[in-house]
Subunit: 308 residues, 2 copies
DNA sequence: TTGTATGCGTTATCAA
DNA sequence: TTGATAACGCATACAA
């Protein structure tokens, strides 16, 4: 289709000419059109120092007329800040948790006029290192690890003078970290359900007693503890048949860089069938008591012992 | 927990001191330790111009010793390039299509040592404009719109001399665009299924004849056309009962900025139940013939007319 | 109240 | 074969 190819070529050329012809407006340009010096323009823009009212008028008119936009790179070079935060993500696909976190990070940064440079490592520690290296070259002002993989990579950033924060699954307690409070969250979920009048509530999760990963074990202990504690606090019975343990979800994201088919295969392979039916049970009257995470975790252990 | 708070405070302080004490190594530092000028170091780094072998040795040693890392911002100021591409996304959550695109964009950019600055607009044209403005201030080298919302925002970027590309759902034919070839994709899917021996294949999609959005209509026409064409090419019968029209998925992402509950409500509300049963049908012998998109779309129209 | 001059870290030109 | 220097666009200390 020669006509179509021509249009495409034309599109490229138009943009190329645009890009080559146009030079971004600088402070100097504004100063020239306003008939003042660059520092006067700077004073107007930053609203510091004294500027005569009429001079200000002229400068503002010139700013309007030229369509000046600050060059963040140049400002960054001068102020020794890039106004960029690096975000290293363990995986976005297919886990929407990471997507939600990156959305939140981006929105929050935007309010402070910061940009987010995302770097997806697909679970690969070596890529994580490469990401840190790139961020150092770009002089990012901070690095967020969601979630961190190797301590050495955190240290690498720190040695370059870049502050870091670990989001979930911290690999060290010696650096900033932000973790989900699973206990409070699970209590809130339970309170919500009980508040709606439900009394036969099931728990689906991994078995803390047989979980090797310490982080996962901790998380599951908190959740299960909250579940048991809240039930008891409301005078509801604990029914072992309503607790389904099992690895319901697991993915090694390194194996799935955009390959949807292998992903689907693997999901089918590792997801076990439901391991028991939830039997119907007569509801029991409510109640309310103080609930504490420590007590909840302890109760989880007492209730099920080391082995289930 | 005073002990825990102390550790957190300590973490902050350690990082603060790190950040304040450390100054990034510059070319000048390397030059000083190597006992040469900055331009000699630059020549070694960029492998252009002539450098005496021993001088090179010294410089390389100094580079190693100091741990020099180029300052991309400074280079960008000088070379009038930011080595950053802006990526405006209509939505990432809950649509994994956008996530996949942004992953691909990022990987590809990385190979060319480019960074990706993502800007999520949640379907809001005004945010799209703000995104373009931010990208102009940061002097990004190009902007990708996945997917574009307003033509004026594309024009805004172009006027600032920044090349743009529209990914799917182009709002104009006059600027670069990259679109999915739905016809070829659907043919491939059909060939795959037929190749596996399947002969009773259903089509689920929207009705092109009653679709108001021109883009969606075009997409559905291509897909349905490919479906019909491929069936016929293989000598398989077209069974109207195997074609299910209906709006199976729709989301106005502006309404769901992280509110999972309302999202779930809406999904349940707009997703209709399956509109017919797929009846069993006897398979019919195969065959193979040439297939063309235009013919496919025409066949779709002939087969079902304006109204179905 | 305004302007001049310097430096941020690079690249590139030109002279030595 | 190497070094001095200007320029990129901005912020700021200081001079006028």
């Amino acid at each position: 289709m020669p006509h179509r190819n021509f249009r495409i070529l034309q599109g490229y050329l138009v943009q190329l000419v645009h890009a080559l012809m146009s030079r971004a407006v600088t402070l100097k340009d504004v100063a020239r059109t306003a008939g003042v010096s660059v520092s006067t323009v700077a004073r107007v823009i930053h609203k510091n120092g004294y500027v005569a009212p009429e001079t200000r008028k002229q400068v503002e008119a010139a700013l309007e007329q030229t369509g000046y936009r600050i060059n963040v790179l140049a400002r960054g070079l001068r102020k020794q800040r890039s106004y960029v935060i690096g975000h290293i993500l363990k995986a976005t696909f297919p886990n929407l948790f990471y997507v939600q976190v990156s959305l939140g990070v981006e929105q929050c940064a935007r309010e402070k006029d910061y940009g987010i440079l995302a770097y997806n490592i697909q679970g690969d520690p070596e890529r994580e290192r490469l990401g840190v290296e790139m961020f150092i070259r770009r002089r990012v002002d901070a690095i967020i690890f969601t979630t961190p993989t190797e301590l050495s990579n955190l240290q690498l950033a720190l040695d370059a003078g870049i502050p870091v924060v670990q989001v979930e699954r911290p690999v060290t307690a010696d650096m900033n970290r932000l973790v989900v409070d699973n206990y409070t969250g699970a209590v809130a979920a339970m309170e919500h359900l009980i508040g709606l009048g439900h009394q036969r509530i099931a728990f689906i999760g991994q078995d803390p007693a047989s979980e090797a990963n310490p982080h996962v074990r901790y998380v599951e202990e908190q959740r299960l503890g909250a579940y048991l504690e809240t039930l008891t606090a409301h005078g509801l019975p604990v029914d072992r048949d309503l607790i389904a343990f099992g690895r319901h979800y697991f993915l090694d994201v390194r194996r799935y860089s955009g390959d949807g088919r292998r992903l689907a295969d693997h999901l089918l392979e590792v997801t076990p069938p439901p391991n028991r039916h939830f039997r119907h049970r007569r509801p029991v009257g409510g109640g309310r008591a103080a609930i504490h995470p420590r007590a909840g975790a302890a109760r989880a252990r007492r209730h099920f012992g080391r082995r289930l």
